[in-house]
Amino acid sequence: MIQIEVNNKPVQAREGEMILSALNRAGIRVPTLCFMENLFPSGACRMCVVEVEGQRNLIPSCAFPVADGMKIKTHSPRVVKARKTIIELLLANHPNDCLYCSRSGNCELQNLSEEFGITQHRFKGTTAVYPLDTSSLSIVRDPSKCILCGRCVRVCEEVQGVSAIDFAGRGSTSSVETAFGEGLNVSSCINCGQCIMVCPTGALTERSRINDVLDALDDPEKVVVVQHAPSISVTLAEEFGTKPGKDIAGIMVAAFRQLGFDRVFDTSFSADLTIMEEASELVQRITNGGKLPMMTSCSPGWIKYVEQFYPDFIDNISSCKSPQQMLGALIKHFFAQREGISPDKIYSVSVMPCTAKKFEGDRPEMIHDNVADVDAVLTTREMAKILRMRGIDLNSLEPDTADSPFGMRSTAGKLFGATGGVMEAALRTAYYLITGSDMDDYKIQDVRGLKGHKEVHLTIGDTEFGFAVVSGLDNARQLLEEIRMGRSDIHFIEVMTCPGGCIAGGGQPHSTDIKAIRQRMQKLYSIDRDERVHFSHKNTEVQRLYDEFLGKPLGEKSHHLLHTKYVKREEVLL
């Protein structure tokens, strides 16, 4: 530890750390724009400048290391003026249509402007008008609102290993663009929405399906059903100001009913079902000499990533549809029949932590004879908006439970919401399938936690198997490269596109706060600890579905409804 002085008070700092991190630990807030936790500082925006005694120029605190005895001023008149000028310049050519912007009230630029007491448009620049890019099924780009902080470019390249977007042009005409300025739909974008999560303004948003869902709810002809992903119940409350890590499963179900959904189903149910199919597939591949390592298929960003960057691994991907699509198919092709409803009368909505799920729902593989498995995918954020639009007060609702036949879940299915969760659930059931008995200790610590790459080797029966869990696709890329180079000790790989898994998905409440993500994760773990059914194969509704309809895992009905195939993508600009 070394000692520095900040605003005339002593502060402890760690040798080699950047000034900003020492300030943050001491509870001194300095505004930042281009800074991103865990990535190398670019020092580009200069919003974080401070005055350092002995230095002539102001110093960007995010990119400058501390030194013993350093004397720093974080809010001197000179510093505040410099920051204020930066904001005023950013506002000079901003469209200023906050009233009509989906980020209003939750925009870093708006907040900064307020914090710095900016009350007038001091510099007037020409507002560059860029066309909206609405070509993507998941993401809408509005470059007119972009303040060129570069965070989206960096997350796309450094965290996801995709690089669909980059800075183009120069000076006053520079902008963030896809290759050749074409639509995101023909770019290498995998629809993950991580760029939305880091964007300070409304320049990047999800493609909204709110109006479609409201129309369906208002249509008396339609039977409108909703499913909610495992992570939604532990993040939705944050949209209403609650601290991260609160589970509101029951209240959420009640709120959905109040909105007018005719049935509320739980995607964690079909997560259990996915495990039945996927664990069976794993065991089958191992015993029949099928392609290994098998890789999970529930994260649609990852699927597109493989289709375009690593088509030689397509056969490694499990043929299981994702839980969203499995449940969607069952709703249209089993539930409908059972209730005597024509499938085209059903409007099937899913609430997902994910923007790529929108893309997945519209994939041609997921639509048969004009009947889509899922009709509209909403993000957590969009669902929160709908609840507000319809004046639903979560505090006044009594908890309710989801509907049969797809309302029950094990805690294994719930774990799907975090990185490692699919692996843990699958291992519990694969162990049972191989040995005929349940694991004594169902908790698999090695695959838990927020690390981007986790591995465990386990002996099941009398064979040792290797398992790997990666999240954030640049981590997946590194593992794929190892396998290409001949690594062969891994039999099964879980990949989640977003770093941390669905709890940090591109459709979740805007925040990249690692503490919030950790609290959401802890909540999922505490559900697993506190409830009683820990195994997907012990989900009695899943068992009943096999008895009454599906037959057995990997059977003919499953093959038809619950499995699919992917192919190499040629049309993408890589």
């Binding site: 977007i165 980059d166 800075f167 042009g169 290759a179 050749f180 600009l573 890589l574």
Partner: protein, 160 residues
């Protein structure tokens, strides 16, 4: 159009990122512009995403991403022309052709370029079409000038 750029790439064995700009220059010289196909091939060769190559290339004025039109129009934006209203000329030209500098019209007839100074300041504001100078251009004259080239192109086509 010959889009085979392999012979250019083979001149850069073990190419690094630093080789990007010279490769782009050679490719543009060879095909006349940076085509989508060429950029994809360069990207594979250098292991660079196309978005990055596009970003780098758009940083410089010299690169274009569309095949040049039959006629190349240069609008001078040098100081003398600027004083005499070349911005209005450029804007009018963009409206008439419905393209921005660096682009080519859909019918393939015209491409538009902005140049710093053609060295004909006495004629300001000046434009040049395939080397032919038009002096004292005003917004009103632009349509006539362009139309004359459109007729020229029609004639060529009729004779062909």
């Amino acid at each position: 159009m010959n889009t085979d750029i392999q012979h250019i790439l083979t001149k850069y064995p073990n190419a690094q990122r630093d080789d990007l700009i010279p490769i782009l220059q050679e490719v543009q010289e060879f095909i006349g512009f940076l085509s989508r196909e060429a950029v994809v091939i360069i990207g594979k060769y250098l292991k660079l995403p196309t978005s990055k190559i596009y970003g780098v290339a758009t940083f410089y004025n010299q690169f274009r991403f569309q095949a040049p039109g039959l006629y190349t129009i240069q609008v001078c934006r040098g100081t003398a022309c600027h004083v005499k209203g070349s911005l209005k000329v450029l804007e009018a030209m963009q409206r008439e052709l419905n393209i921005k500098p660096g682009e080519t019209t859909r019918d393939g007839l015209f491409s538009l370029e902005v140049v710093a100074c053609i060295g004909a300041c006495g004629l300001a504001p000046v434009i040049s079409i395939d080397g032919e100078f038009y002096a004292g251009v005003t917004q009103d004259k632009i349509k006539n000038i362009i139309d004359s080239y459109r007729r020229k192109a029609e004639k060529i086509e009729a004779n062909a």
